[in-house]
Symmetry: C2
């Protein structure tokens, strides 16, 4: 059985959003055990759940020092509970500040033996007939990386893609500014050499930004700075275009009628691109499942982050990464 | 009067595409003088134009050495013609390989006094009610940059935004993985300090990927590697979503009817996002207008690259950048 610890106080929209997320999730996963962490008075209506009291929160821009200092913060308590051997928990979910969560997860859950640096993973839907997802890492856990770290991201991303999306022998590309071997940042060129010799990864060479949502690769590896820009740019373009689609349909009474006719196809498509359905990013390379939900999570997106954590736990992603680093 | 030199042999689609582009452009700009560079037999139907014979081409992946060696290549001859004082030309357009064009432009047109490194500029439409464009640089002319180079990109981008889009005192942001001052790559943090003290630029701090197509900034500065990833990712998402929109309308006979009703709004929107309408990137920081058209330019996108070159020439962007670096 899967057991997840949930930080109920992290969302910008308050505990109403996380409570809605928990209720939605629980309806579809009655078998999953949940432990909720937060203020008792705000969680008094969550009957039937185990609750850990926590009366403080960490700021959105908090770093490692604040995390260590704020022992009664809900995020810190949630992460500590996940790491407590007596809890037998699989992982933790929080919508709190990214920096604080990454610090807490790294310091408290600790890195898997052999892993140089954990990485934040996100997956985007491929916009192709065949569908599927591309797994991108690091999406901003680090600011700067070494070639050896990128090489490890490739292995962790491949294990993730296999475990979460069932991709056999996932293709793994290195994000670069050109497809030929000589292209890439100085860091990327060094990582290219390491990956070319790496027998644990199905390395397919460089991948360019315009190939990410095609079926060119299953995993895309980059440093945390580039990954963060790439992730946010994709979200920005998708959101901007989504707004334009709505505007185009609202333009006139004719276009509104048009929407009624075309609604079905657009609902499928907009659902696929909805960041709320993606909802979270996982920190890979630590000893438990650690999912960071969007800071402005509403019930739907918090549920989706919980779904990701559940999927990762059921598929034993952490154990598979541990095995990958032993071999 | 504006005079432009056109490399007719650079497009992957051959001279038929560039010839169509030239004819379309000329129809709307009868006053602009054009000099065409290419094979005489392929240009025999271009009556009334001055033609420079060139019987060779440079490869798509050619670098500086090949550019210097291939003296009869159309791109090299076109760039040389632009730099020839007797020509009195304003600039040059080519759809040939990016690396070769950047090398040729830098070596032959030469950097403007004071400019450390030229930068490739692209502009994206802002997806807002107000419209307008965000100017992004460097989009891949360099692989690695110094903080001083980023500082100069900010000034060149601001002058470009003012000259081409008429933006008064353009806001200039630094692409980063977070909005606060402490965020950014090590390079970005250094550039932040320089830009904060720079009185020539209206620096507004960090800008994140999801703010680029909003009205948050007018100019976005980044190193060439990040800019190239950012540019191609944006193109990829826009293309992927464009395909999904088409698919959604083709889904059933009902959705096809829906398209007929909503067509007008979608044509406006898809036109805005059409990369063919953007068509080219400019190399700023050299002594002439230098526009790189898409490698797979058809007539429409080659025309649009010519439009950009014309606009840059009419608005004296090169002279304004020269002034900006004298002050």
């Amino acid at each position: 059985m899967v057991k997840l610890i949930v930080d109920m106080m992290g969302s910008d929209l308050g505990s109403a959003a996380t409570k809605e997320g928990v209720r939605r999730f629980k309806k579809n996963h009655p078998d999953c055990e949940l432990v909720l962490v937060g203020k008792l008075d705000e969680l008094s209506d969550m009957e039937g759940y185990e609750i850990i009291e926590a009366n403080d929160t960490v700021g959105m821009t908090a770093g490692a020092m604040e995390v260590l200092r704020k022992k009664d913060a809900s995020m810190v308590k949630a992460v500590r509970a996940a790491a407590d051997p007596e809890m037998h928990a699989d992982g933790v979910i929080s919508a709190g500040g990214t920096g604080a969560f990454l610090s807490a997860a790294t310091l408290i859950l600790k890195k898997i033996d052999g892993v140089k640096r954990p990485a934040l993973v996100t997956s985007f839907p491929k916009l192709t007939e065949k569908g599927g997802y591309v797994t991108i890492l690091d999406c901003g856990s680090s600011n700067e990386n070494t070639a050896e770290e990128l090489q490890q991201f490739a292995l962790m991303g491949s294990l993730y893609s296999n475990a979460v999306f069932g991709v056999e022998n996932p293709r793994c590309g290195l994000v670069a500014n050109g497809s030929e071997e000589g292209k890439g940042s100085p860091l990327g060129k060094e990582a290219y050499k390491l990956l070319k010799e790496d027998t644990k990864v199905n390395f397919i060479g460089n991948v360019e930004g315009n190939q990410l949502l095609t079926d060119y690769t299953d995993v895309a590896v980059c440093d945390g700075f580039t990954g963060n820009v790439l992730l946010k740019t994709t979200e920005g373009v998708a959101k901007g275009m989504g707004n334009e689609i709505k505007k185009a349909f609202k333009r006139s009474c004719w276009s509104k009628i048009g929407y009624l006719f075309a609604k079905k196809g657009f609902d499928v498509f907009m659902g696929k691109m909805n960041p709320k359905k993606i909802g979270g990013a996982m920190l890979v390379g630590v000893n438990y499942v650690a999912v960071k939900a969007h800071g402005n999570s509403d019930g739907e997106s918090f549920e989706s982050a919980m779904n990701i954590a559940y999927k990762l736990a059921v598929n034993n992603v952490v154990a598979k990464i541990k095995e990958g680093f032993v071999k």
